[in-house]
């Protein structure tokens, strides 16, 4: 870690040297060399693979002054391709760093040079746009300072001692595996977070009806974030201290400016400070009128510049970044001396959240805002889960102190929302330009982790054509159950938030469920610009669009646009594999499935240990239909062999004879998810035999106990109970009409 910390300082010195020696020249080239290399890190006691640039995580802080020309040499020493995207920067499209869209990927052992003039100032950041590399270390600060005599220079803000802070998260799991697990609706992360919201927990919390209604409306346990992280990092460390800046010791009364970028792949962070109020002075690299708050939430990929004060001598004050789900945090101690802590954000009241979701969710899967026009994060439905706003989950320890309710509940804390951001300068768009209005609905479904715009993923849509010079206005409604930080490449947009001509400029807008936000920008740089959700796993699932300009010149870095597009689309077309295998005393059960956004190929098998118990397999190829993907028509192929044994049932409920001894059949069928998450399946075989079945898997009984059952018209039935030991293993006991009682080890992938 020591070596890592040395590097940015050296860089800084070089840059400073360059700054000093070159002020006479108007066009100054600032060069950085970035060596991207595999590395091993140890954040949790286990050694894991990560990617370091110049030997450090995060990547080095790059500092420029407006007017410079940046020249960044990226040396790819990985065994895979990479890319770097300059988040929030105005540059020509071929420098934007999106592989297969604005350039071809930087192949291993090659060097790519990004060169662009710096024509703006503010706090930005940069990250890999290739695969899931951003999760394992490829994020860094990108700071552009104002010119010396910039008219927008703000005394008391732009001349303060400054610390760039990059927020990120670390998981010991391979991100590819995280992505796969999310698509398979794993509840392992919920178990890790202690947020399973099982029936037992619901009953204990007096929320049995809430849980029942939740499952009736076909929802899985709700949460504010998807992934459990082992560590939260600020500049690569869970705990950091800063006692002096630029060689000057910090003392009481000093103000410090923090340039904060959220480089987390999927985490929002609450920012709080032990030394009093936080003054927000810029957002997404653009100045805003200073506004004082007690706390703010920073969406994935947003940046905020804030000012904090050191109130007393001999004390270091904790600046705390807590994940939105409040399971983990990182601390930065500002000042010298004993560490004054900040109270952690209390645990979420999940069942209150579940109740809220029940009220908002209609039976058809649409959300119902009950006539409230929601926008700009002003109304946060999640407050029902925040004990610091709405009181403790349950006043169970009434015997303690009756006053404790008073002090806790409804403290007058100010939380930042977008309506409070106001630009100090006019940001109006050219008045005589034509206006193109686009509307998008953010759509998705948690159960299958499919995220899209207007229920279409990137690979299912064409690029959106816009004309150079026109004003593009985008109205976005979030009809999904998660919040999404939507990011536009290459342009800042105005977020229409009631401040008229002083609407703030941003490049990321966080939209909560049921909110509608309007943003607009002038189309002034040709190219293919990505517009996408910045939650890494949502983006990789295809939640985005590409804007392209009419009649633009071809990009010299994309020699074969067709090939590039196919590779770009491959990201969200990628199938995800899952498998279960149960080794039990009465037989071997299992299934394997390959799924992508719309298609599913799955095989199930039940293999007995003797002919009486029998052997059978079923294979289904199906396509998910509709926004909620509750309906799946499929083609099936069955084979089974059995000598009559325990349960002799050869005719079904419809009086059809269904020989089980040796049967090979093709079928057509549909599967539909009923309320209570019951899977109803109807199948007709080529010989006219009909089979209906009803199944429910993974009923959360307790935190780690799951139950399931199946019945069908062939008079077969099965019931099982599983205790989850870890991510991939459980103990399962089941009763099966063909094979009888069994107990064994169940593995899942």
């Amino acid at each position: 870690m020591v070596i890592q910390n040395m590097l940015p300082k050296k860089m800084l010195q070089i840059v400073l040297l360059l700054l000093v020696s070159n002020t006479i020249f108007s066009q100054k080239i600032v060069r950085y060399d970035l060596y991207v290399k595999d590395t091993i890190v140890n954040f949790t006691g286990k050694e894991k693979r990560a990617i370091a640039v110049n030997g450090q995580i995060p990547m080095p802080t790059l500092i420029f002054t407006e007017g410079d020309t940046a020249e960044i040499h990226v040396h790819n020493q990985l065994k895979e391709s990479t890319s770097l995207h300059w988040h929030g920067l105005f540059l020509s499209n071929k420098e934007d760093g999106v592989p297969n869209l604005t350039q071809m990927p930087i192949e291993p052992n090659t060097t790519h040079v990004y060169k662009f003039p710096i024509i703006q100032n503010g706090t930005h950041w940069y990250h890999s746009h290739s695969g899931l590399q951003e999760q394992i270390g490829m994020y860094g600060n990108f700071v552009m300072l104002k010119k010396q005599h910039d008219p927008t220079f703000r005394k008391g803000i732009d001349d303060l001692p400054t610390v760039p802070i990059l927020l990120s998260e670390w998981t010991d799991y391979n991100p590819e595996n995280v992505h796969r697990m999310l698509h398979n609706a794993t509840d392992w992360f919920a178990i890790k977070k202690n947020a399973t919201q099982s029936y037992a927990e619901a009953i204990k919390a007096g929320h049995f009806k809430t849980k029942l209604k939740n499952e009736w409306k076909r929802m899985l346990a709700m949460d504010v974030s998807d992934v459990y992280y082992d560590k939260i990092l600020m500049n690569g460390n869970p705990n950091s201290e800063i006692g002096n800046i630029d060689g000057k010791q910090l003392k009481a009364g000093d103000k410090v400016r923090l340039r904060i970028s959220n480089g987390g792949a999927s985490s929002y962070f609450w920012l709080t400070y032990a030394g009093g109020k936080i003054t927000v002075v810029a957002n997404d690299g653009n100045d805003v009128e200073p506004v004082e708050v007690d706390r703010l939430i920073i969406a994935v990929s947003e940046t905020y510049d804030i000012i904090v004060t050191i109130p007393a001598e001999n004390t270091a004050y904790e600046f705390l970044a807590t994940t939105e789900d409040r399971t983990n945090s990182a601390s930065y101690y500002i000042g010298n001396g004993i560490k004054q802590l900040k109270s952690p954000q209390p645990r979420l009241k999940y069942f209150e959240g579940m109740k809220m979701m029940n009220d908002m969710m209609k039976m058809n899967g649409d959300l119902d805002d009950m006539g409230m026009a929601m926008s700009l994060n002003q109304m946060d439905m999640n407050v029902v889960m925040y004990p610091e706003i709405t009181g403790d989950a349950k006043p169970k320890q009434d015997n303690k102190d009756p006053n404790r309710y008073n002090a806790n509940a409804l403290a007058d804390i100010v939380t930042l929302n977008y309506a409070m951001l106001k630009s100090p300068i006019k940001t109006e768009l050219p008045k005589n330009a034509t206006v193109k209005e686009l509307r998008f609905e953010l759509t998705g479904n948690m159960n299958r982790y499919v995220w899209s715009l207007d229920n279409k993923v990137i690979s299912e849509t064409d690029k959106i054509l816009i004309k150079k010079g026109e004003n593009v206005r985008i109205v976005i409604y979030n009809g999904s159950m998660m919040r999404h930080p939507m990011h536009l490449h290459g342009h800042d947009f105005r977020l229409l938030n009631g401040h008229g001509e002083f609407a703030p400029l941003k490049n990321v807008v966080d939209i909560m469920p049921m909110e509608t936000d309007t943003l607009e920008f002038n189309a002034n740089v040709e190219g293919d610009w990505f517009f996408h959700c910045h939650i890494l796993y949502h983006m990789m699932s295809g939640m985005g669009r590409v804007f392209t300009y009419e009649n633009q010149a071809p990009n010299p870095l994309i020699p074969n646009p067709k090939l590039a597009q196919r590779k770009l689309f491959a990201d969200d077309r990628k199938p995800h594999f899952m498998a279960d295998k149960d080794f039990a005393t009465n037989g071997n059960d299992g299934m394997a499935m390959l799924q992508n956004t719309r298609w599913s190929i799955g095989a199930e098998w039940r293999l007995g240990y003797n002919d009486m118990h029998g052997y059978e397999t079923e294979t289904h190829i199906g396509r998910y239909v509709g926004k909620m993907q509750w309906l799946i028509p499929f083609i099936g192929f069955d084979w089974r062999y059995r000598k009559m044994g325990i349960d002799e049932q050869e005719d079904n409920l419809f009086g059809q004879v269904n020989k089980k001894d040796n049967r090979t059949a093709i079928s057509l069928g549909v599967m539909y998810t009923l309320p209570m998450l019951l899977n109803f399946q109807a199948e007709v075989y080529h010989d006219g035999i009909v089979r209906l079945s009803l199944m429910r898997e993974d009923i959360p009984i307790t935190k780690r106990m799951r139950a399931g059952f199946m019945v069908n018209t062939d008079k077969e039935f099965m019931a099982d109970l599983r205790y989850i030991l870890n991510k991939n293993m459980g103990i399962r006991t089941h009763y099966d009409s063909d094979m009888g009682f069994g107990v064994g080890l169940s593995l899942n992938y």
């Binding site: 004054q340 109740k355 007058d412």
Partner: protein
């Protein structure tokens, strides 16, 4: 049946493994000062610090010294002391958050020798948090309606917190204070409105005090808010008051309330819809 018992045996066996092996390995022992007072402190400190198989802390209330025994491969002194500080107890490395310290029982409010006083006025803001801890007693001569306004706000706050018991208690107090208002001391404008709303105001307050059922209380509070709105229009208060509106309550007909804060904290739904609503009028 046999199978079930076998399974449960296996499970019990599995669990029992984790019980017999609760000792800390790779131990490191340290002695650290932690500020506190009494046996209750000791319990809080040790509960906060101990983690099975990782850390064990024994604090002595007389010497104020704690013996930390922990697995040095799994944790460190800072982590343990931070947990203790977050439970309210200062050490020489960490200061407890002020809100946690202030919530310690009276006997546990030890002297915070490590805390450096804040030189400037920065901390003054914190006091605003404790404003409705004690019932307000104002000089009757100055503004006798102020007292009942404060009471009204307290009822509102109780409803925001969905605390029917508290709302009922405060409403009882409000009734007493309402009866104590000396009408001859009111200005003529105030007097006229007072006479108009008095009976309704009293009956609405009575309804709130008579029950702890939130639904009934909120229904009465809607009418009570109208009474107070009328009063406020003629009786100017020192602080700005906001007239706020919830569009959903009363079967979508909407309902209003008065608040001293411009931020929305909805008394008709409490935590269910806390921030639903908007300010419709600012009364200065």
């Amino acid at each position: 049946m046999n199978v079930i018992s076998k399974i449960s045996m296996a499970i019990i066996l599995l669990f029992s493994f984790s019980f017999c092996d609760a000792q800390i390995q790779h131990t490191k022992t340290e002695s650290v000062k932690i500020y506190g007072n009494c046996e209750m402190c000791e319990k809080t400190i040790e509960t906060a610090a101990n983690i099975k198989k990782v850390a064990n802390v024994d604090w002595n209330k007389d010497t104020k010294m704690a013996t930390l025994i922990y697995d040095s491969t799994k944790t460190n002194q800072d982590e343990i002391l931070k947990r203790i500080a977050l439970a309210g107890y200062d050490s020489d490395k960490f200061l407890a958050p002020d809100d946690v310290y202030s919530k310690l029982a009276g006997c546990c409010q030890y002297e915070r020798v490590n805390k450096t006083a804040i030189a400037k006025t920065v901390a003054m803001e914190d006091h605003s948090m404790h404003k409705h801890e004690t019932p307000v007693e104002t000089k009757q001569e100055v503004n006798q309606l102020k007292t009942i306004f404060e009471n009204y706000f307290a009822v509102k706050d109780a409803l925001v917190k969905s605390d029917g018991k508290l709302a009922s208690t405060i409403a009882k107090d409000l009734l007493v204070k309402t009866n104590a208002v000396k009408m001859d001391k009111l200005s003529s404008e105030e007097h006229a409105v007072w006479m108009k709303v008095l009976s309704s105001l009293k009956s609405n307050t009575d309804k709130i005090s008579a029950t702890t059922n939130l639904e009934k209380q909120r229904n009465a509070f809607m009418a009570l808010s109208a009474n107070f709105y009328d009063l406020l229009k003629v009786s100017k208060q020192e602080t700005t008051v906001y007239y706020e509106h919830c569009p959903m309550y009363n079967d979508g007909k909407g309902a209003n309330w008065l608040s001293k804060e411009n931020t929305i904290k909805n008394p008709y739904y409490g935590s269910q819809m806390l921030t639903c609503g908007k300010t419709v009028e600012t009364i200065k």
